[in-house]
Each structure stands twice: as C-alpha cells, then as structure tokens.
Amino acid sequence: MDERPGHAPWVRVSHWIGAASLLVLAVTGYLILMVHPRLYWGEVGNDLTPALIELPISRNHQHGGWEPAKPFFARAGGPVSASRTFDIFNQNGWGRSLHFLAAWCLVVPGAFYLLRGLSGGHFRARVWPRATELAPRVVWGHVLDHLRLRIPPATGGPRYNVLQKLAYTAVIFLAAPLMVLTGLAMSPAVGAAAPWLPRLFGGFQSARTVHFFAFVVLVLFVLVHVVMVIASGFRRQMRAMTVGE
C-alpha cells in the first residue's frame, strides 16, 4: 500500500500549505503574545494577579502605568480594580485576524490531509514507527548517528528513519492537534458550546500557556527539520517536496 518512492502530490501540497500557515501563525502568534507576555495557570490571569512566567519579551504598546488599586469589597486581600492609563494603544487587531485566517488555512487542508493519510494507508506505511524500529538499541543508534552528524544522504522522501517517523508522528498527531484544541479552548464562543474543552486544559489561561509551549516545540521542530534538510542534501530534498522526482 502506497510504497511508491518520493512524495505523493497531495503530500507535497499539504506540506507547503502547512508550512506557510505555520510561519504566519508563528509570527502573528508572537505579535499577539507581545501585548501581554505573561503566562498563568487556571482560568484567570491579568496584570493585577501573579504570573506563572513573565516572558522577557518587549511589549508592543506602551501604557502610562496604573492608577492606585481600589478593593471591590471591605475584606482585606480581596479582589481589586485598577485603571490603566494609556499612551500608545496596542494595534494588534490585524495580527489576530491574520492568525485566524492562517488557522483556517491550516485546519481545513490539515483535516483533508489527515483523512487522506488515514484512509489511504499513508501514515501506517510511511509515518508511524514500526514496533521493530522502536527497540531502544535501534533508536539510540540513530540518536548517536545524528549527534555525530552522520546524516544519511537525501532519498527524496520515504523511507524515513525512526527518528524522522517519531518527529513527524509527534508533530502531526500530538503538537498540531494540541495547538488547535488549546486555540479553540481560548475562544469564548467555542467555550460556551463546549465547556469541557477549556476544562480539559484546566482553564483558559492554562490552555494559553500550553498553546505557547506547543508553539515552542513546533518552532524547535521546524529548526531541526530545516537543518536536517540542508545537511542531507538541500537541492534533492526541495525538488522531491516541490515538483517531485
């Protein structure tokens, strides 16, 4: 089943749609993060509550500081309100709209890719590691080879070695779906329709934090992926993934 050499046309098209969407999502996601580079756990987090992590990222707007906080209730330590004065209002409306446009471009063709890959046996034949390949000795051998930069020359697509299979499986079946689910969990409209979704991640802010770390994992994957493409033979690999061999 599907053992022809090289990448099938639908794989090549999916690859580049996914790559372009991911690039746009990464840039606009970073832009959105710049407005409020604080991460939290649970349902709630804001400038008046402690952060889990404060990312060392420059904010892309400037405000004029906070007026003194006023408590809502008489009891000490209760919730407060504080007014933010602003000098430069953030202008990230375009970034969010572009983020969601790119998300559509990733999710709709991505769903076709998953259906096609599952129904045609593509994932089973080429992407999912076989049990024999998962023997620790085999995996470790590949890891050592890669660390010593003994990279096998480009084959123009499958067959993949076990590390490639593990990386692609993790991205396609774990990181990408996690990105989509945590993204949806942050939507107030989707949260109303499916309250279990934000709960699954422990709340809106937890989903946002997981969304961020899944982004970090995906960026690291892309970096390693590109380095490996270059190391194994850039021209051959690019030809195989664009016009085909």
Binding site: E43, N46, D47, E67, F72, P79, S81, L101, A192
Partner: protein, 251 residues
C-alpha cells in the same frame, strides 16, 4: 476489501454532505462588509462558521462568588477626563448628578422608540451572572454583573420584523453592533452593577454591555444610545472595521 472501502468513503461523504447541508441552512443571511480586505474576509469566515456550526444560544460558564478576581480597567477609564467633546462634557455633568439625569435612547427600527432612565432599566427584570472577561490582549478576569437582559429592553420597544442588528453608541465615541443572535442571547445584558455594587466609572458606569460569547472589547462601556437596524452599520470612523479590528470576535 475494495467494496468496503467505497462504502466507508460513501458513508463519510454522505455524513459530510448532511452536516454541510444543515450548516449552510444556518449561515447568517447578513454578513458584515469586508471592503475587499483579506483580514475582514477571514473574520467573516469565522463568524459564518460559528453561526453555522455552534449551538445558537449556548450559555457561557458561570462561576461562584468565591471565583471573583481582581479586574483591570483598560481603554477609556473615565470619559469625564479623557473624552474631549460635548459627550465628555455631558458625562461630567451626569456623573456629578449620580447619573440621575442619564438616559439610554433606544431608536431605529422599533415600534415604540423611547429613552430609559437608570431607574427604568432597574425596574425591568434583572439578571446577575458571574462570568469570565476575556481580553483580546490575553488576560482574563472574573466579575459579577447585574443588569437587564438586552432582549427585555428590545421587547419593551418592540423591534420590527425586518430588524437584523443592534447598533450601540458610547460616550467615548465608539460605535459597535450585534447581530440578533447575540443581542437576544440570555447572557447579553446591559449591566448597571458589578460585584454587588454600582458599576464603577472605570468599568463603564452607569451602563455597559456584557456580551459573554465574544472578546472583551465587544462589551461596550459607557453605552448611551441603541439603534435597531435592518442593515449592517459599520459605525464609520468610530467603528471597529474601519479601525482595523474584527467586528466579530467569538474567536
């Protein structure tokens, strides 16, 4: 094997077609204009998909009093200071009189246009809800809101059968609009109370909108006028679309 595959594909196709048919029937009839802007087209795609695929009147999660959190006030936090127009001037006067002279005008495509005082709104059936405010910036806060469901106010004036949108005008000169799905949602309220007290100035006194299924900036503060409309009104230079912001923000 081969027949099995075809049958499965047919079943999937038939299922998708059925879902597609139902979804198409639920598409909103009136879409906001995109003015040829690709980003606005993307917003419209999200809007249409939410209206077609999500339950029409699902309620957002409500919390308990123990869950209330600190709540930043952002954007305009006092029109009396920051709005340099006759509206800011008027707001200063109304604020000095504890909003006793404040009026909410409800007009447009309604059978009985009228204006409501704060007391008029408080005389209508009230709703209290503890919900999560989700700011477009990425922060969240939980607050308790008391007010009158917008649907009650619209009932009182009698919207005409051709009406499709409710356009809101604020003291800080912002214009926004809701489709009837959002306007008639049970948790869409004109709030005059927050966390058990009067709505503070910084959070939109005397009356703000709470629109719980969209991002925070759709919950307009300092509401002063409602216009029921048959057609989409982008609010011109005071509206979100011409300022580069998405009109629909269920996200």
């Amino acid at each position: 094997m081969k027949t099995g595959l075809i049958t499965r594909r047919r079943a999937i196709l038939a299922g998708l077609t059925a879902i597609g048919g139902v979804a198409v029937a639920r598409l909103p009839g009136d879409l906001p204009p995109s003015y040829g802007n690709l980003l606005r087209m993307g917003d419209t795609l999200t809007y249409a998909a939410h209206r077609a695929l999500l339950p029409a009147q699902a309620l957002v999660r409500e919390y308990s009093v123990r869950d209330l959190t600190s709540f930043p006030a952002t954007g305009t936090t006092n029109p009396a200071v920051s709005v340099h127009s006759p509206l800011g001037e008027e707001y200063r006067r109304l604020q000095a009189g504890a909003f006793a002279d404040w009026r909410l005008s409800v007009e447009g495509r309604v059978a009985r246009p009228r204006s409501f005082s704060l007391a008029d709104l408080k005389a209508l059936p009230a709703r209290t809800q503890i919900t999560r405010h989700t700011c477009e910036e990425g922060w969240t806060a939980i607050g308790q809101w008391t007010g009158v469901p917008l649907s009650r106010v619209l009932d009182a004036v009698g919207i005409l059968p051709t009406a499709r949108f409710v356009v809101l005008h604020s003291v800080d000169d912002w214009v926004d609009s809701l489709d009837l799905n959002d306007a008639l949602h049970p948790q869409t309220i004109l709030a005059y109370g927050m966390n058990g007290g009067d709505l503070p100035i910084a959070h939109g006194a005397p009356v703000r909108l709470r629109l719980e299924r969209q991002i925070g900036y759709k919950s307009m503060k300092y509401v002063r006028r409602l216009v029921v409309a048959d057609e989409f009104d982008d609010g011109g230079a005071s509206g979100s679309i011409q300022n580069g912001w998405a009109w629909y923000n269920g996200i």
